[in-house]
């Protein structure tokens, strides 16, 4: 997880990456110095990435009619807090935040745990049928599970789970991608000798997993956890189907807020709500941005 390239050999990854970067930097200077154009393009990308959020903040901190200003407003106003309070009054945003936190945390813990367990078995244990089962995991990665939403909805309705958080959590408990991802990581990271040594010392299979595999898997577990959490937090279609308006997730609450104005939506209110829905992940992003980038660059997530 530490090295930002895909070709790095697994031995001493941190050291190796540092060395490589140092070497590359010195070497590149000769022919590859980025110019004005490069920084200009990056600046444009930065503005493009942040403008929609900035503009939401501008309108969210003003009054709705300010969207009509010519030229358009680009400086924030004083009303952000007032508008935020109105968001919490219009929809049950506090409940939505709590619900999304519970849903995302439960799904993350489950996916990370079961993926590590199965990924470890596929990477390091020998058993009959291993290759075929691993192929099955890879094949299921390509299936968009969304396509099963109709029977899944019927199941939830049958068991009277619609409207409960369980209806959102259960379909997210495992992913084929997680298993494959952990397997790819653990295959490199744990030397077979280490597992054999633990076995020689009389450790049980579970003990070996718990004391040898789990500590080694931690960096990959963190990255898988981050992406799983984000995917659960941003999911919309399934929560929309099974969670009613009285028990919303952040996304369904925001959609309800967006629809609340009918033909004359209150833009300031809606954009403040959009920003509030982004803030939790924004904080996570600021803290863990480096790991996210490393994770994507290692191919942590399929698009």
């Amino acid at each position: 997880m530490s090295a930002p390239t895909t070709q790095v050999r697994p031995t001493l990854p941190v050291f190796d990456a540092g060395l490589r970067q140092e070497r590359t930097r010195r070497r590149r200077k000769a022919y590859d110095r980025p110019g004005f154009l490069s920084y200009g393009l990056l600046l444009a990308a930065f503005v493009g990435s942040s403008f929609p959020l900035w503009w939401s903040f501008v309108i969210g901190s003003r009054q709705a009619s300010d969207t009509n200003l010519v030229p358009p407003a680009i400086i924030p106003g004083p009303n952000f807090f007032t508008n935020a309070v109105r968001v919490f009054e219009t929809v049950d945003f506090a409940k939505a935040l709590t619900n999304s936190l519970i849903i995302s945390a439960a799904i993350t813990v489950s996916v990370v745990f079961f993926s590590t367990l199965a990924g470890y078995a596929f990477a390091k244990l020998r058993f009959k049928g291993r290759n075929i089962l691993l192929l099955a995991v890879i094949a299921t990665m390509a299936i968009p599970t969304q396509l099963g939403i109709i029977p899944l909805f019927m199941i939830m309705a049958e068991f009277k789970w619609t409207g409960t958080l369980g209806a959102v959590i259960i379909p997210g408990l495992v992913t084929a991608f997680g298993v494959f991802f952990m397997r790819q990581y653990l295959v490199d990271v744990i030397p077979d000798e280490l597992i054999e040594a633990a076995r020689m010392d009389g450790a049980s299979m579970w003990g070996t997993f718990w004391h040898v595999a789990l500590p080694a898997a931690r960096p990959a577990m963190a990255v898988l956890g981050l992406f799983t959490f984000m995917a659960a937090w941003t999911d919309f279609l399934w929560p929309l189907l099974v969670l009613g308006p009285r028990n919303p997730s952040v996304q369904t609450a925001l959609a309800a807020l967006n629809a609340s104005g009918g033909h004359a939506p209150d833009h300031s209110l809606v954009l403040t709500g959009a920003l509030l829905s982004v803030i939790p992940l924004l904080i996570l992003f600021i803290i863990t941005g480096r790991q996210l980038i490393a994770g994507i660059m290692q191919g942590a997530v399929k698009g």
């Binding site: 980025p34 094949a139 299921t140 495992v174 049980s204 629809a259 709500g273 982004v278």
Partner: protein
Amino acid sequence: MSTTTRARTQSSDLSTRQKLARLDFKAAPYLYVSPFFILFAIIGLFPIAYTMTVSLHDWHLLKGQGDFVGFDNYASVLADPFFWNAFGNTISIFLLSAVPQVIVATIIAAVLDQAIKASTFWRMSVLLPYIVAPVAVAVIFTQVFSQYHGPIAGFFDIIGVDPIRWDFDPIPSHIAIASMVNWRWTGYNALILLAAMQAVPRDVYESAAIDGAGRLRRFWSITIPMIRPTLIFVIITSTIGGLQIFAEPKLFDTRTNGGSNRQFQTIVLYLYELAFPRRDFGRAAATAWILFVIIILAGLINFAISKAIRTADVRPSRKATLAIAQSQGAKR
């Protein structure tokens, strides 16, 4: 003789603890992989398979299972002009998003693949949109692409262009929705492509530079061929994602399911409308399977095209899974 006897005695004399250890050794792997397979069978495979059963029946959301009708649901969906309208819209939005997205992502990746100062800052800034959920993106962009107010309308007003009816005319609405997808995913894909670019040995660039190859020449003749498997991976994943977009068109006009004239109704939105407002689960399930087939076909077409235009200097990869595996960091 004596040795065999001793061995046999020993093996039958294995202590309970040793037997348990052996059982542990044999059974543990299956125990570790079984939670995944059991849960996946319940929440993944069964629903998809059962979708087939539902699709072969008259099936109403409230009344439940009706008569077996064979492939009638498929026939009626495929004969429905609204389905083909949704199909066309999906393809149009997909093309408007995938093509610019891949091009811009490749350019950003190439810029980042230099000795850039503050590289973490730039990388984080291009990734920022990825953390904004599709619902929030749709809400924000609906305001940005407003006909009479918002920054785009304001800009058009200043330069004296007539306002565009973003939520009414088909192509402008497709552009608005594609912009939402592009905004969220371009930086993400740029980072995947950047990873592939960084795996290209620097010596190759160096010797090309010494031989007098300019920056553009190096990009076309070295970078692009070398990152081709990752490029294919990015295109395939954005195809799979692009064919399934829902939140963006759903929220672009909250009062309808894809516009007053269905001018931006996508296939998943069509499926949603059949299943919930219209409560026709049979046809919705048929639509799900049709979409599944479309996704697989799109993947195969992508793969065939990329195979056809592959240049001689790139080693052919054996399977689509390999291309995915490589981009997932399996390359060792």
